[in-house]
């Protein structure tokens, strides 16, 4: 019977995070500690690292491995139309309001491999708003953005996504949006015509435009409170008056200094900027 003790200490996690900041400019020091430590331990065991020293050396000296490290310690689990009720509110309430504008600018922050970006494109298309919309989909990680820009997702997921789509108020045959290509579903090019995939690091980069809708779902949960407040201020700086901010199911604006400027859509994690 072997007793399990973690192979990396909290102090060693701090060392790795300090290295990343010093050598690569990636700042993970404001991330929730338990979560990032689990990610690091997972990769350490997945890649069968021989010792902490070897693991650290590789991250600091092998650019290819460093990229893998960043990809693996950030969480890139996502779905199309995840939380269908949320997307139904986007479809029925938020986007029709924005549809009265001559031009719609949307920022999807932390877009990962792009499943939500294509979901939003589909809704915009069905509302006849795609032609006058632009969706900036950003992530800190260039590898996931590369995947996102291909618009290809596992065929095995399509049954689930189709169910989500219908629950979110989708009106078409979901399979009309992609062509099956062996194990992959390739989404129609029209859907990505208004998507701009680009790197942006919420921790270190500034506001780059003004938007009427910002979505950032299940990203803030990985940040400590101070970093959450900082990022929410960045969103506030990037959102027009009467614009909307959408967060994940378990995230909230409530404890943030910007919350007095916002009014929540009842029962949803969507806030409207009222100042």
């Amino acid at each position: 019977m072997n007793l399990e003790l973690p192979t990396i200490t909290d102090g060693q996690v701090e060392i790795l995070l300090a290295d990343l900041l010093e050598h690569y400019g990636y700042d993970f020091t404001g991330y929730s500690k338990a979560s990032i430590k689990r990610r690091i331990l997972r990769l350490y065991s997945l890649d069968k690292a021989l010792s902490f020293a070897e693991f650290r050396y590789r991250i600091n000296n092998d650019t290819f491995y460093f990229k893998r490290f960043v990809e693996q310690i950030t969480v890139n689990v996502t779905e199309m139309f995840r939380d269908p009720v949320f997307f139904k509110t986007l479809r029925d309430v938020v986007l029709p309001k924005l549809g009265t504008y001559p031009f719609i600018r949307i920022w999807l922050a932390g877009c990962s491999t792009g499943e939500e970006a294509y979901s939003i494109s589909i809704i915009l298309k069905e509302l006849n708003l795609l032609h006058k919309s632009l969706v900036y989909a950003t992530d800190l990680n260039p590898i996931v953005l590369e995947k996102a820009s291909q618009g290809m997702f596992a065929m095995s997921q399509m049954k689930q996504y189709s169910e989500n789509y219908i629950l979110s108020g989708g009106i078409n045959d979901f399979s009309s949006y992609y062509t099956a290509n062996y194990s992959l579903a390739k989404f129609n090019d029209e859907l990505k015509s208004k998507l701009i995939f680009s790197t942006h690091n919420l921790v270190s980069d500034h506001s780059f435009n003004e938007f009427q809708l910002i979505l950032c779902r299940n990203v803030l949960i990985y940040f400590d409170r101070d970093l959450q407040h900082k990022v929410l201020r960045l969103f506030d700086d990037s959102l027009e008056g009467l614009g909307y901010l959408a967060l994940g199911t378990k995230e909230t604006l409530d404890f943030s200094p910007i919350s007095p400027n916002y009014k929540r859509i009842p029962a949803e994690k969507i806030w409207r900027k009222v100042i």
Binding site: A34, R38, R39, V77, I221, G248
Partner: protein, 187 residues
Amino acid sequence: MGKCDALIIGGSAGSLDVLLKVLPLLRPDLSFPIVIVIHRKHGTDSLLPELLSGRTRLIVKEIDEKEPVLAGRVYIAPSDYHTLIEQDHTFSLDYSEKINYSRPAIDATFQTAAEVYREKLVCLLLSGSNADGVNGLKSVNGWGGIAVIQDPATAQVAYMPEQAAIHAKIDYTLGIEDMAEFINLLS
């Protein structure tokens, strides 16, 4: 007596009935928090805390991210997120890959809690049909905490506590009738 700083209860198929029997018998002034991680279908969020709060005088609530872990409360892990415990005794939520086909995974909570509360942690694994929680109990062993399982003979689905008994060092094996008294005496 201060021998317990936190109790984490994990379970899957057949565990809800156990909770419904045990919760009403708990002292309302427990000196530690109880965190409940049970597998359930995504989308049934609000029902479980409501159901359980009707059975106890302790405050029952679903966990919010970054919330402090306070004594005398019963916290329910939300569906479709992993619940982690931070060194500063707050909760973190995590939407990473499922573990043992489960999110929430009992292992994730047991393992992070083991490192935080160490020998003052008690983890109780109930009835269930997969092996989630077993690695977590091994971590609890490693950090000096107390590993407890439901007596497989009393479990609707014995697999989970059985696997724990095979792979981890179990400090106590409890029948359903003995659980409330055991928990009350930890206070």
